[in-house]
Symmetry: C2
Subunit: 140 residues, 2 copies
DNA sequence: ATATTTGTCTATAGATTTAGTAGATTTTCA
DNA sequence: TGAAAATCTACTAAATCTATAGACAAATAT
């Protein structure tokens, strides 16, 4: 399961994409629109900023804005950024690999093989879809 | 990520399948063979028993044995039994559905739609593979 | 300059889940 | 009866999740 944090991140990014781009939107506006606790959203938007996805401006008229184009933000990237590994087992994760510590030979392990299949199927979908795609469907 | 508990469950079932079927195997034997903490394995095997996957016999010469054929135990069933939902969002789960509480109309929600795709791809693989399949590959 | 608005940083806290442990009890077999 | 094994009850420690509080820094308007 994706964490609440990650779900909030996706919703916030879609909201920012659907708004006029290049304009600043405050944390409170997004929080109210999407019913996200705003102190929690604060942390999330900061993470997205530190990852280079969003930019921000302080003071009056400030807020957050998209720094990357929505079509360049893949869903898989948001998940990895907020939640970490996408794979169902540590030993099949591309970005957060760890040995499972249970099988003797990972290359011959049937469990490993099966969950690599699952990983690849999941990755195929989540890396071919962007925040832009989701926002477009949303609008129509 | 699958929990350790679920990984242990899969390994234990494969171990039981690879052993001579119909014979009793003690918790301690499985725990030692697969390096699983045996008090933890105790809980796991009991869950599998209560779900009708394993049978048990108490006393001397007792232990656990397969009650279902390994080819009838789908990996998806083990995961659902031990970890619960397989889906990445509550609103796309078939067996553990809950509303996400974030979108107005689930049927029009693009996020919902995307993660249903992921769910279906995952389910396709995990319901077409059984403990028997994993044990067979293991052996060869 | 100063007040206001807005993001940033530090710190904390409650709830839940994960991963496991301890010890008494029951059943079965020899 | 005694030993071996599962079963049951009841914990616990640590991590993670989901937040919240409050001080601080920067930008803007007046």
């Amino acid at each position: 399961m994706l964490s609440k944090k990650c779900q909030y991140a996706i919703h916030a990014l879609i909201y920012l994409t659907e708004k006029h781009e290049k304009e600043c939107t405050t944390i409170v506006e997004i929080a109210d629109a999407k019913s996200i606790p705003h102190k929690f959203l604060e942390v999330i938007l900061l993470d997205l900023k530190n990852a280079g996805v969003l930019g921000s401006k302080k003071g009056k008229g400030g807020g957050y804005y998209m720094i990357k184009h929505a079509d360049q933000i893949r869903i898989i990237d948001v998940i990895r950024l907020i939640d970490g590994a996408v794979a169902m087992l540590p030993c099949v994760s591309l970005n957060f690999y760890e040995s499972c510590g249970l099988c003797e030979n990972e290359k011959k392990c049937s469990i490993n093989k099966l969950f690599k299949e699952v990983r690849d199927a999941t990755l195929k979908i989540l890396s071919n879809n962007t925040i832009g795609d989701l926002a477009r469907i949303h609008r129509s």
